[in-house]
């Protein structure tokens, strides 16, 4: 008898609109504007449906272009090249043109640059410096004798967080409070250390 495969964490792919209450897949008939009653859970929800226009990509064939300007794509021999990759210089067609607002790249170079996190527009993961600054400030508050260290770290992350928040035009009020706390922690931590040194020196003097 074959052994049963062990249960694995399954990531459910997104398959389109579902009932917002029970997550049952909505068939095309149920995607409509108005009050919709889910056939599975019988729950009501208000919906507005859209019919987004399909995207059309015009790919020019080499045969269709003139003899002078016709350069074949490096990946698709039948397609006419529309541009050259900014990294490797290969001629690429409209299908291969990976442009996310930072210039045209061929798929291979795009993958390489994306894995190196060198494409600003294609990055989907980044560090949350504001949150890191907040946690550092809280740690410094709890461990007051290390306040100077944690406060400095909080200030460092806050400086990066300010840039991040400004770029996104988000409120910086929370981060300003963190900076105030961090400065107080540094001062408090330094005062505590000085007090300890003073106490130690006074103790040895006797």
């Amino acid at each position: 008898m074959l052994a049963q495969p062990t249960a694995r964490l399954q990531i459910q792919p997104y398959e389109g609109p579902t009932c917002p209450r029970c997550a049952a897949r909505l068939m095309a008939d149920w995607i409509r504007t108005g009050i919709v009653r889910c056939p599975d859970c019988n729950g009501d929800f208000e919906a507005t449906a859209f019919k987004p226009p399909s995207r059309e990509l015009h790919v020019e064939h080499v045969m269709a272009t003139g003899p002078i300007e016709a350069n074949a794509c490096a990946n698709h021999g039948k397609n006419a090249a529309v541009t050259a990759c900014q990294r490797c210089g290969l001629l690429i067609c409209a299908l291969c043109d990976m442009n996310v607002g930072t210039g045209s790249y061929c798929p291979a170079c795009f993958d390489r640059l994306r894995s190196e996190n060198a494409l600003q527009g294609a990055a989907t993961r980044y560090r949350d410096y504001a949150s890191m600054a907040r946690v550092s400030a809280i740690a410094g508050f709890l461990l007051m004798f290390l306040g100077a260290v944690f406060g400095s770290v909080a200030l460092y992350y806050a400086s990066k967080g300010f840039k991040q928040l400004r770029a996104e035009e988000r409120s910086i009020v929370g981060l300003v409070i963190v900076v105030i706390f961090a400065v107080l922690e540094i001062l408090g931590g330094l005062a505590l250390i000085l007090l300890m040194i003073y106490g130690f020196a006074k103790g040895t003097m006797k």
Binding site: A47, F50, E169, R170
Partner: protein, 172 residues
């Protein structure tokens, strides 16, 4: 990270999920927090298929609040009438109170969900108190989507003007 100006629309905070939802010029951005890292996905306005709004209790939250209220409530009652410890009973009653209040607030106000389904991804927002805001966000997303998708439609061909009928020959 894309340094594009964006406006916060709402949040989706649950037991296992912590997301912030923003609006940019061409999409709804969903920032999912995983520790100190944020992963971002977008629901492009040009891809939106369905926008929904509904009101629900949030069963998990209600059950947890109810259980905590009952546990601390039973302890308070037990200390009061079983052990005759008024101090301990009061402490547990005070502990039970916030959970009870949270439960009542949720049962009265419920939770508003705004969900945006795109072709390849979706965004969910929860509004616990601001009901008007939920309605505003729903309307705003619908109007922005309509605007973007309308601008993508191919322009209608201009009607060909009808030829003028030939004039009758000039009589001499």
């Amino acid at each position: 990270m894309t340094p594009t100006p964006r406006r916060k629309l709402g949040r989706n905070v649950g037991v296992m999920i912590r997301e912030l939802i923003f609006e940019t010029a061409d999409a709804i951005e969903v920032d999912s927090r995983e520790g100190y890292e944020i992963s971002r996905k977008r629901v492009l306005f040009e891809d939106v298929l369905l926008v929904t709004i509904h009101r629900a209790y949030g069963v998990g939250y209600v059950v947890v609040m109810l259980l905590l209220s009952i546990v601390f409530g039973i302890l308070a009652v037990g200390f009061q009438f079983g052990a005759h410890e008024a101090g301990a009973a009061l402490t547990f009653a005070i502990l039970a109170l916030p959970f009870l209040i949270a439960l009542i607030v949720r049962l009265v106000l419920k939770l508003d969900f705004v969900t945006v389904f795109g072709r390849r991804s979706r965004a969910v927002m929860r509004f616990a108190v601001k009901k008007r805001r939920a309605r505003e966000v729903y309307g705003h997303i619908c109007s922005r989507t309509r605007e973007v998708q309308r601008s993508m439609e191919p322009p209608q061909a201009a009607p060909i003007p009808a030829e003028e009928p030939p004039l009758p020959p000039a009589s001499e």
